[in-house]
């Protein structure tokens, strides 16, 4: 049984897609994230504020789309994005009211 993960896609006013993700992303469910991303072309904003855990399987999915992603990441996830190098390829924001992104 895969780990619980909810992905809520929204189309923002500017036409970009916003994926609000909640739960933990790991080997068991990263394919679901990949499938969702494949459905949308063009720039995508992923809000990871409610994500507690992100492992390399999840990162691999994000890396595949890095150039067109904009990520909203909580402080707890920011080190992993920096350490993995994803922050160099994608734009990373802090959630609103959480201070500037690292």
């Amino acid at each position: 049984m895969p780990t619980a993960l909810t992905i809520t896609p929204q189309r923002r006013r500017d036409g970009t897609v916003l994926l609000t993700v909640a739960g933990e992303i790991d080997l068991s469910n990263s394919a679901e994230l990949a499938r969702t991303l494949d459905r949308f072309s063009g720039g995508v904003v992923i809000d990871l504020t409610a994500v507690d855990y992100l492992d390399s399987a999840g990162l691999n999915v994000l890396f595949a789309h890095a150039e067109r992603l904009e990520l909203i990441a909580p402080p707890l996830l920011q080190p992993i994005l920096t350490v993995s190098g994803l922050a160099d390829l994608s734009t990373v924001h802090a959630p609103p009211g959480d201070g500037p992104a690292a």
Binding site: T3, L27, S28, Y53, D55, A57, L59, N60, F63, V83
Partner: protein, 1389 residues
Amino acid sequence: MSERAGVGAGGDARRTAGTREVFADGGRTGADLAAVDWAATPLGPPDRWPQSLRTAVSIMLSSRFPMWMAWGPDLTFFCNAAYRRDTLGLKYPWALGRPAREVWAEIWPDIGPRIERVLGTGEATWDDALLLFLERSGYPEETYHTFSYSPLRDDDAQVVGMLCVVSEDTDRVVGERRMATLRDLGSDPTVVRTEEETLAFACRQLARNARDLPFTLTYLFAPEEGARLAGSTGLPPGHPAAPAVLPEGATGLLWPAAAAGSGESVCVPLTDDRFGTLPAGDWPEPPTEALVVPLQQQGGEPYGFLVAALNRYRPLDDAYRGFIGLTATHLASGIGSARSYRAQQRRAEELAELDRAKTTFFSNISHEFRTPLTLMTGPAQELLTRLADAEPSVRQDLEAIHRNGLRLGKLVNTLLDFSRIEAGRMQARYEPVDLAAVTAELASVFRSAVDRAGLAFHVDCAPLPQPVHIDRGMWEKVVLNLLSNALKFTFDGTVTVTVRERDDAAEVLVADTGTGVPAAEMPRLFERFHRISGSRARSNEGSGIGLALVRELVLLHGGTITADSEEGKGTCFTVRLPFGTAHLPADAVVAAGPHVPAVTAAPYVLEALRWLPENDTAAQQAGVGTAPAAPPAPQTAGKPAHVLIADDNTDMREYLTRLLTQAGYRVSAVADGDQALRAVRGAPPDLIVSDVMMPRVDGLSLLNALRTDSRTASLPVLLLSARAGQEAAIEGLRAGADDYLVKPFAAAELLARVRANVELARLRGHHVRWRTALVDSLQEAFFVCDGNGAVIEINAAFSDILGYGPEGLPYRPVHPWWPDAAADPDGHRAVADALTAVLRERHGIRTVPVVHRDGRRRWIAVSFTRTQDPDTGRRVIVGTFRDVTTEHYAVQRESALAALGTRLSRVTSLTDTLAAALDQLRELWRADSVMAVVLGSGDRPSVTATTPADWQELPEPRRRAITELHRRPLLTSASDATGGGILLEHPEGPMALWVETGRHRPFGDEDQLLLAVLAGQLAQALARAHQFDQQRVTALALQRAILGPSELPGGFAVRYEPATPPLEVGGDWYDTIALPDGRIGIVVGDCVGRGLEAAAVMGQLRSACRALFLQDTGPGRTLAALDHFATGVAAAVCTTVFCGVLDPGSGVLTYASAGHPPGILAGPDGATKLLEEGRSLPLGVRPGRVRPEATTVLPVRSTLLLYTDGLVERRRQALSTGIRRACDALVAGGDVPLQELAAHVTDRLAPQDGFEDDVALLLYRYPAPLTLSFPARPGQLAPVRHALRTWLENAGLAPKAAMDVLMAAGEACANAVEHGHRDAPGASIGLRAEASAHRVRLTVADSGRWKEPQPEANPLRGRGISLMRKLMDHVTIEPAPAGTTVDMHTRIR
């Protein structure tokens, strides 16, 4: 269940449901309880039971500790699963629901009164290891139980039943008892004892355990006799079950001697009427069976067998058989030791006896040959001269006689040489010579014989760069013997003699192309009287002593001789002689003497020629056959001097007559003393030559008669005797003989003596001659000393014994024969003291060590008298001494044996025994070093030495000598120029022992004998120490087995460190008890005293603590209950105990200490805290007082240390110092992994020589490590992360730090799932997380194989690993065939 419930309760559904509910926690036992027809018991159906009973049953059933309970008027019996498993046996399920009195009918007399007391007073009882005979296995069984009965109350608080919490201790009690017996058996400190003493000691120990061994009999096999009773316990003497002898081959014997003799163990039922009435030992009934076990001898038939009557109340299981087996092994090894010691003793005595016999033989044999030899060679030689023109056949016969006479003479001389070498009286004169020239000249003597044999003879003697010091006479014998040997065994080819320089020494090689020596015979080549059998040789004659003599002579030169030989190819002997004189006794070295041609060659060459065909002219060629030209006989008044011969042997008489007549004397001859007297009175001769032994009037009587008659008193008399005994000479000279000649004598010698005596008789006063001759003939050494201690006169025996002749007189103190002051200070002092006594006292006797001129040490007994020189009136000391070396060494052997025995009795381990023995040997010999080399099974020999050494560092010759020793039989000693050695048994393989005495201290036969005797004793001691070591290991293993739990809850580490002296069982213990609510009971205690009693008390206290904890009494009440227990057991008083209950989740520790040293809590910040609250007195000191408790919370990542005082107590040191050091060690170990922490702490605190007291140690680190195992499925990752997240929080990690660890762990787990288990999804993955003061350590292990990260090939796959490396300080990935292990740790910031 429903079926049986239906039978029991009549099928009422409601009732069945109620029954189920009561017994719901009981599992299988609950089901069986539910099946009981409760309606038929006084308790009625369960749904009507009072709540109190239902609760009691439910608690009991849910407990995993063995319990039973009884309730109601009949005390109806209940029990739980654990009780059923441990105790009830066959009585289950029959016992359920029955009156307790019926269930335990057989022990009711024991337990009934206790139950009544509980019911009557409401007070609990306590019994420790109570012996109960249970009938649960079909027979009354010896069992031990530690139990407590506590009251059970009904809803109205009336006592209506009781609950028993019990643990069975049977295995522990029985195990400890057997262990004590085995240990006592091994406790005999004596190194060596007789078989009888060994058995008597063992029987005393066996008799002390009449429970496991109601009686025992030890039978030993005696040849031709059968089995003989050698020891018994538990049976009165003469009991019918213990016949003194079981005759061999008899049938219907009481004990199966034949089966035991073939190595079988047999269990014998004791039903035969012939056993009579057997004693019961410690039991109510006598034994019904006995086990007969052989006393196995290593590699041989059993020595005998042990009959061990069996405890009828215990099963004969593996443990019991093992115990009896070990007992028998012990007896057998004791008997083996005693027998082999006895054999050693006997062998040593035989060797000494042989040595004495040999010496006697050598000194006697030569003389027995002398008369016949003189009568063969003398006349033969004379005839050869006279019959120079006779026909060839006559000459051949004469030559044969002469040659064989010489041969016999050569043999006698060789034997005498040996005799002299052995007695240390070989007087060598080492002079510098051109060895090449001397050897070439000797070789040339053999050339004709070699040519005649049709062999090529190569002599290659190139000049050497420097002279070599040899004794010419000895060297001739060496070369001639080797050449003679080469010729004897060579039929075609070449004999080669080579002299050359090699490695700074002279080498002489004598090689042949002869028959060679079989490899098997090589080791014995130089052995005395050993002849190589089966070899083709030119002659079968030979005594087998030639090469042995050669070897002795070469050794005297400080050289070596070796032989290389190949059968059928030839033999080469290599003699190596050092240059210079450092290897020779300084005073035996002389300047180069005049060149003298070889004098001993003739017999060798003659003998060799005799082996060859056509030996007709050989004699002449060897330069033999001319009689000595005697000087003309003295004249008396113009007439030839008249000699009267008195001899009863016609041959001798005629020979003497002929000899003297030819020399120009006028000779008359008579056959006895009587005739001689008459002849003398008729016409007094100028000289009488008389045999000593004659019929009627013998030589001495003749002498006496002559001296008492004034007319003949001054007539010179020459006595002849075949007897070597010097007493005869003294007797003769005392009686007034002028000279004395021992047979065989050369014709020339006789003529010279006759002539001298005739002349001297005229020239000298009689008394002067008499005195000189008397002194010289004394067998005892004789000396005269002046007032300053200078020796001014000595006799021949003096020169013989000390090697210093009259040419060196006077000898002033310090005399040259004194032991060297530096090398042997004791000996030097002894001689100096003796000299002082000689000068100061009137007379006395002293025994002192001296050094012969050749360097050998000898012992002499000196007796001396002060007197006045009659001529000068000066004070002189006249003394005699006798060589007492042999007696001295015999005494020395005895005392050395005793000293070694005493020394070895003080050490126990194998290593210490060997070290002590080497040290003792070094002292005994004042050796440079003593070493022991075990070849063993390893590739490198193991060396133990008084001066530490490595095998590779030893000089090559020493290595060779030691390797050589390993090829010799056991306990036969060997020696070379610088020491001696022997091979003996070591438990790890044959061991060569080498005593290095140095170049100036030859290792003589006495030394070899002494070494053999001591080596025998040492071998015994080593075997014994080995056995002792093994017993110690066993004893410790047993103690560890009765100590502490085998499986510890997580987070704990323990250690038990025995005290230093071996075999000390202590009273310290530790324990952890998993309580039903998940908490953990912790106990560390220390009973007073040591030894078995302390261990027994410890065992009881430990059981008690366990039981009390399980009743959830808490630390304080547990201690209070133990107080009551301790008052009843004297040895338990003053025990100190720390009791605690720990909640591993929250880290809350509730504890109480009964006088125990405070626990130490070390926080991650390096702060330490002592658990000093909750203190009260040690157990049993003031029972009844309240025991306070204290509570503390373990900080996150702190470590708790509990210990016994042995860890911190030191002599002359405050306890607080030790505790502070323990604190420091604990803080320093803050990041040491838990499993290494106990060793870390003890290693830091252990004193140099080990702990004086035993130490128990218990450690806990909070939180305990997290250990998870999960199937390799992606879906498992989230739950694992959650568990780890919680644990990380408990371990006090900040959220961010926790996230790093969590991610790294997640990657490792994901990798394990993804890569590790491609082929086996669902296989198990293990995760372990451990926190220490500043670190977190994670281990993830799977059973698959990872892919190496190859970023270029697959950037995605490598990302997980690189993340782990970025998130953690340290990551190692170890792939192995069994699986991959990821180990990561990081510092907590």
